[in-house]
Symmetry: C2
């Protein structure tokens, strides 16, 4: 049941034609989350290449004389040295030190940036800050709609589409303005998986269907198919799901993003003073990976993926919440993400969660299942 | 397909048990939009009483020494004389004069207000403004979840639940803190329909199911049933659907809210200077009601309600968009809301819209179909 209150992506009709079976709403836009075959979508992403409509990952453009200084003022991470053609993961906190978004910042020009945002109205917030401070910037949502190709064959597909020279020169989190059969876009080596890949930032929403079809056609020989940001792969790989793993009162230290909070640097940013105080008082919670230890994996089939957070108990006391849980195809057991008191965040700690009246044991893992916890590798 | 990234309402399980058939996402929360029988849901609302889970209409609480002045600074409408126990429709603009939300402001105490918001992260924005200005306020989202009873029998039901004395003393947009069998709530004579009714602002999310069941049981003899904010009734009645009728660049003059923009008053508010300039330059667009004039109403069955905005043409030129359209049970024909150039906003103007390859004629109506355009009656 679609309605005009929620926006459709430029790729909407193409995803419907490709058999999308479920949408969520993200940044006031419908975003595909399933094409009806989770096992095949996981294989496509981890063994071949998947095409994702991630137009709902909207861009906030910041342009003007103060753009560099202002963008830096928004970001808890130093953007020093971020040059045109480069991008950087840039967690953003409010004045109280709560994490309010975790975009990738793309530098398009010395005075022009995009924040490629997670699901919160960061543009509204940034506009308020800019206006109240009298910054010489314009903040707006441009007509930019990312389409992602993710998976081990994404490289081959990108070479096929854009040529070996362009793709070969593109390091991780590098981007370049280019076109595909005249369809203008910014090509960036990035994406919300650990399977490697690219995001194609389409800059003309009227050409979404064309771009989708072009990529799909070229990808046929690499086994491409439709997909969506993958809950199993991202938990396996230790990627943060903003707004899902955390809540509105989570600070970046709790969320495992402490390494990117530049408290020692010279640059001032929103929340810096509050984050200093938080650190002095001591961090009270921590996001941890957990494994389900129930021998009978079939018990999990009825309850995973998790529909909503569940209390996690240690020795009968509630110590936090299991925020997400999925069946891991790679590991062959259930895994999840919990936000718990630091005392319960010690690897090996056994927690108990109730799901639909049934009791499950989970064990805190020493680190994410794939790679060390790095929501996105440093650029 | 539910997931932990989007919140469930405290009434969620109750609505599932009551047969909810579709949800939207509103303020990062699942909100029921259908129980599978639109005709019956319309009759329930207009002839008896409907129970709506509108928990997604979140509250932004503003509390502290500067709360009254700060809340006033956010609102384009004067809040002068707004006393504890009273509420007022309070459109809010950004610094550029764009409408960014149209909440009802409830005054709970001289230094404590709720903004009962439409779907945008107004809390994030308000926190940025408060912090940058150093206002002595705390801004946060409290544990408050409205449940609405709407329809001609809502009054009888409210009397049955809360007593004739409490309900009789409650004028339009008046509210009072009370309880129902020990379940604490704020009762307000309000709601997003013109069928009269109340909103029960539950202040303890753990008791949602109890409240739902209590109201449903008491309402049985008045013919209560589940429902949701009703697209047909609200277009008939001329209620604004924020984020749906308008877009991110719509100002309140275009949206028909000019009467509540207090440009002549003494109070300063965000966007005031920009709105003055807009008015001087002249308003370029206007939100209008339209009627479908196609003799063969059955042609509309396949295309209404509208899934997304459609271009509206006058003499072949695009003059704006049909933003919403529904079949009106009361009028027996299709009606809608269009955002068009003022030259095309003249009653009687005939516009042409293409929907799924088919051409339809709509005529601009002299005023909303029910009452004069008043998103919510003045309080």
């Amino acid at each position: 049941m679609f309605g005009p209150r929620v926006r459709k992506s430029p790729y909407h009709e193409a995803t419907v034609a490709a058999g999308v079976s479920a949408f969520t709403v993200y940044n006031h836009m419908y975003m595909p989350i399933s094409f009806g075959d989770p096992a095949e979508e996981y294989r496509r992403l981890t063994e071949r290449v998947a095409l994702w409509d991630v137009a709902a990952q909207r861009q906030i453009e910041i342009v003007g004389g103060d753009a560099a200084a202002f963008t830096q003022y928004l970001s808890a991470r130093s953007l020093g040295g971020l040059k045109p053609g480069r991008a950087r993961y840039a967690p953003i906190c409010d004045h109280e030190g709560n994490l309010i978004n975790d975009p990738v910042a793309l530098c398009l020009d010395d005075d022009r940036f995009w924040l490629s945002i997670a699901d919160s109205d960061l543009g509204l917030w940034a506009k308020a800050v800019a206006a109240e401070r009298g910054a010489d910037v314009r903040v707006f949502e441009p007509d930019v709609s990312p389409l992602a190709i993710q998976g081990p064959r994404a490289e081959d597909l990108a070479v096929d589409l854009f040529g070996a020279e362009v793709v070969g020169a593109l390091g991780f989190f590098h981007h370049v303005g280019t076109d595909l059969d005249g369809i203008e876009l910014v090509l960036c080596r990035s994406g919300w998986s650990k399977q490697s890949g690219f995001e194609l930032f389409l800059t003309d929403g009227s050409r979404g269907a064309e771009l989708w079809d072009t990529v799909m056609a070229a990808g046929a020989r690499f086994g491409i198919g439709p997909g969506a940001p993958n809950p199993a792969e991202r938990v396996e790989s230790g990627l943060l799901s903003y707004g899902s793993d955390n809540d509105s009162t989570t600070n970046p230290f709790e969320a495992g993003l402490g390494r990117w909070v530049d408290l020692d640097g010279e640059h001032d940013f929103i929340g810096k003073a509050a984050l200093r105080r938080l650190l002095e008082r001591g961090v009270e919670r921590s996001l941890v990976n957990v494994s389900f230890v129930d021998a009978d994996g079939s018990r999990l089939a009825g309850v995973l993926p998790l529909e909503h957070p569940r209390s996690a108990r240690l020795d009968g006391q509630v110590v936090g919440e299991l925020r997400n849980a999925v069946w891991s195809p790679r590991l062959g057991h259930g895994i999840g993400i919990a936000l718990v008191a630091v005392a319960a965040a010690v690897p090996g700690t056994c927690l108990v969660v109730e799901i639909d009246g049934d009791s499950f044991s989970v064990v805190v893992a020493p680190e994410p299942f794939g790679t060390p916890r790095r929501p996105i590798p440093p650029s």
